[in-house]
């Protein structure tokens, strides 16, 4: 079966430090995947490469049915190709309302002229409301995003991702700073989203990863250390040494 995204042999060096070292990793069209690893393992750099923020020194990043290379594309082009990204720190547009945030993310033409001539339509309003329903912010649509609680901001950002209708969602630490109830809801949202697309979650929190109940990839020093179910990778002695050992120390 052909893959949605194939990263192969990618290397990135920052001032002599190999942040990513000959990394190869693939994602299927519909799957939920967790990526774990100690600090500095290259998790965020990996996302930067896929979304076009960082250019690798070597390697290939192949995307979609037509097997096009993402290298050489700009961030906005990659986003339009269908890769959405949620940042570690919730980054929503705090000066604008929840509805405006979602409207901006909604999959519509992105050119300046189309945006200038944009008219609000009933279909789009319904799409926004459907997303708001999914993330539980229906009652907050008219609120300014800056007033939302930390957890709500995280959901809004996930909602913005959903509104983009991406084929691949890269989600960086969605559960950071959330209460247990909020985590549960976040898990549900992500699992639901993964039914129709690929969702990749970078997470530190083992409990949260366990709840996602999905395939886990362990990164270490910029390369894949182990891959499989959470139980499988956590029983791997090397993983225990480099990651769990350090995490519990």
């Amino acid at each position: 079966m052909s893959m949605l995204l194939e990263v192969s042999g990618v290397t990135v060096t920052f001032d002599g430090f190999r942040a990513i070292n000959n990394l190869s990793i693939n994602f299927a069209k519909t799957e939920l995947r967790a990526i774990i690893g100690p600090n500095g393992a290259g998790k965020t750099t990996f996302m930067d490469i896929v979304t076009g923020k960082t250019k690798p020194d070597e390697g290939r990043v192949i995307w979609g049915d037509k097997n096009i290379s993402l290298l050489g594309m700009s961030e906005s082009q990659i986003a339009r190709e269908g890769i959405g990204r949620k940042f570690q720190k919730p980054t929503v547009f705090e000066a604008q309302t929840v509805r405006q945030n979602l409207a901006m993310a909604l999959k519509t033409p992105r050119g300046p002229f189309a945006v200038l001539m944009h008219k609000k339509t009933k279909t789009n309003a319904e799409r926004i409301e459907a997303v708001a329903e999914q993330i539980g912010l229906t009652d907050s649509l008219t609120r300014v995003a800056g007033e939302l609680s930390h957890g709500q901001k995280q959901w809004l950002e996930i909602g913005m991702l959903l509104a983009q209708e991406p084929r691949l969602m890269l989600v960086d630490e969605p559960a950071a700073g959330m209460t247990p109830e909020e985590r549960e809801k976040t898990t549900d949202i992500l699992k639901e989203a993964a039914k129709t697309r690929a969702v990749v979650v970078v997470e530190h929190d083992m409990e949260f990863v366990r709840r996602l109940d999905c395939k886990v990839t362990v990164l270490h020093e910029g390369a894949v250390l182990a891959e499989g179910s959470l139980d499988h990778v956590t029983s791997n002695q090397t993983v225990i040494d480099v990651y769990l050992g350090r995490a519990h120390a």
Binding site: T51, S76, A79, F93, Q96, M104, R110, P112, H118
Partner: protein
């Protein structure tokens, strides 16, 4: 649709209303109606102030809404002035030359007329040849086109180069300062083709209307400036509301995030930068016929910095704030520097406002930035909140 636009932007209605009342009152009190409570020279000052308000709201869109601190927008304003000034000067000189040559026994050839005009205009810089850039100077239509095209193209090329290389923040501000400085230095040269530091003068005389009094001309320009300001206000209010406004404000607050949403940020910046440059050019084209003279000093780097100061004092991110700031500070500035403010005698030292005004302005700028970041326009927020 219209209704929603107004209801989403209540300031548009109030602004236009206030501007309309102001325009009518000034016109009635001017020398045109015979009442003459407002002198022709003050009508010109007010008309010029409206043009400054227009360039200030353009500055607010590019800085307050899109987050690009351009310190070069006065260059576009000046280019607009030069473009219209070239026609004014050419056409008027042509009229004078033809009149003076009419008395000769042999009718002058077109070449003689052209040489005489060249002598008149460029004699001051020791030349009589028409530089290439004066090629369209005999056509009002083409020069008016230049008012839009030259600032637009300059902004497009400059912006494309700067934004494409992802130059942002203070580096972009420095680049825009360099742009306006380079342009001013170039125009200062006698062989720039625009009369060096003499600039273009006599612009208050409108060719074809030699018999019309300045009182009438000043009111016509005043009303034209008011209409341009109103149109500019509606245009920019439309741009910064709705989805375009969302994206533009998003770029100001978090450029990278907008990029990852799939928007080509550079195109949006270029659109805003170029559009505001064109409006600045139009404002300049209306300003300089009222000022009567334009010289390269007008587009010195400090002019664009003043523009930013007006917008900051008036209140960034709200169009009426920028207009109020420009009107307030520029009128106050002419009052202080024009000898209107009485000097203060401290006994041991006399505070002369012509010298100390800049110090006062500097302190006000710092105070507003520190204590009232929303500026004068922020006061309206308090009013509106009290009503609710």
């Amino acid at each position: 649709m219209r209704k929603t636009f107004i209801s989403q932007n209540p300031s548009v209605l109030w602004f236009i209303l206030a501007l309309a009342i102001f325009t009518v009152v000034v016109t009635i009190l001017s020398e045109v109606t015979g009442i003459g409570l407002i002198s022709t020279s003050f009508v010109k000052t007010l008309g010029k102030t409206l043009c400054l308000c227009l360039v200030a709201i353009a500055m607010d869109v590019v800085w307050g809404y899109c987050g690009i601190l351009s310190l070069g927008h006065f260059a576009f304003f000046g280019i607009g002035g030069y473009a219209v000034g070239m026609w004014l000067m050419y056409a008027r000189t042509e009229g004078i030359v033809i009149e003076s040559l009419a008395g000769q026994p042999l009718p002058p050839t077109p070449q003689e007329i052209s040489d005489a005009i060249g002598n008149q205009i460029f004699g001051v810089v020791g030349s009589s040849e028409f530089p290439l850039i004066w090629g369209f100077a005999d056509s009002l239509f083409l020069q008016l086109l230049m008012v839009i095209l030259v600032p637009g193209l300059l902004a497009l090329v400059f912006g494309w180069l700067a934004f494409r290389s992802r130059v942002t923040g203070v580096y972009l501000s420095i680049l825009t300062q360099a742009m306006t400085l380079a342009l001013a230095l170039y125009l200062f040269q006698n062989d720039s083709g625009l009369r060096g530091n003499n600039g273009l003068s006599g612009l208050q005389n409108i060719p074809g209307y030699e018999d019309t009094s300045q009182a009438v001309i000043s009111i016509v320009f005043f009303i034209a400036s008011a209409i341009a300001l109103a149109a500019g206000y509606i245009f920019f209010a439309w741009i910064v509301s709705g989805k375009m406004g969302s994206v533009v404000k998003g770029i100001r607050d978090n450029e990278a995030r907008v990029r990852f949403l799939g928007y080509h940020v550079e195109s949006y910046k270029l659109f805003i930068f170029t559009t505001t440059a064109v409006v600045a050019g139009i404002a300049g084209a209306l300003y300089y016929p009222q000022a009567g003279i334009i010289n390269p000093g007008e587009i010195a780097p400090i002019a664009s910095i003043y523009l930013a100061v007006w917008v900051a004092i008036g209140g960034r991110g709200r169009l009426y704030g920028a207009a109020i700031g420009a009107a307030f500070v520029s009128l106050l500035s002419s009052w202080f520097t024009g000898g209107g403010a009485p000097n203060i005698n401290l006994g041991f030292y006399v505070i002369q406002w012509t010298d100390w005004w800049l110090v006062l302005l500097g302190f006000s700028f710092v105070a507003v930035t520190l204590f009232f970041p929303k500026g004068i326009g922020g006061l309206f927020d308090l009013l509106v909140r009290k009503q609710q």
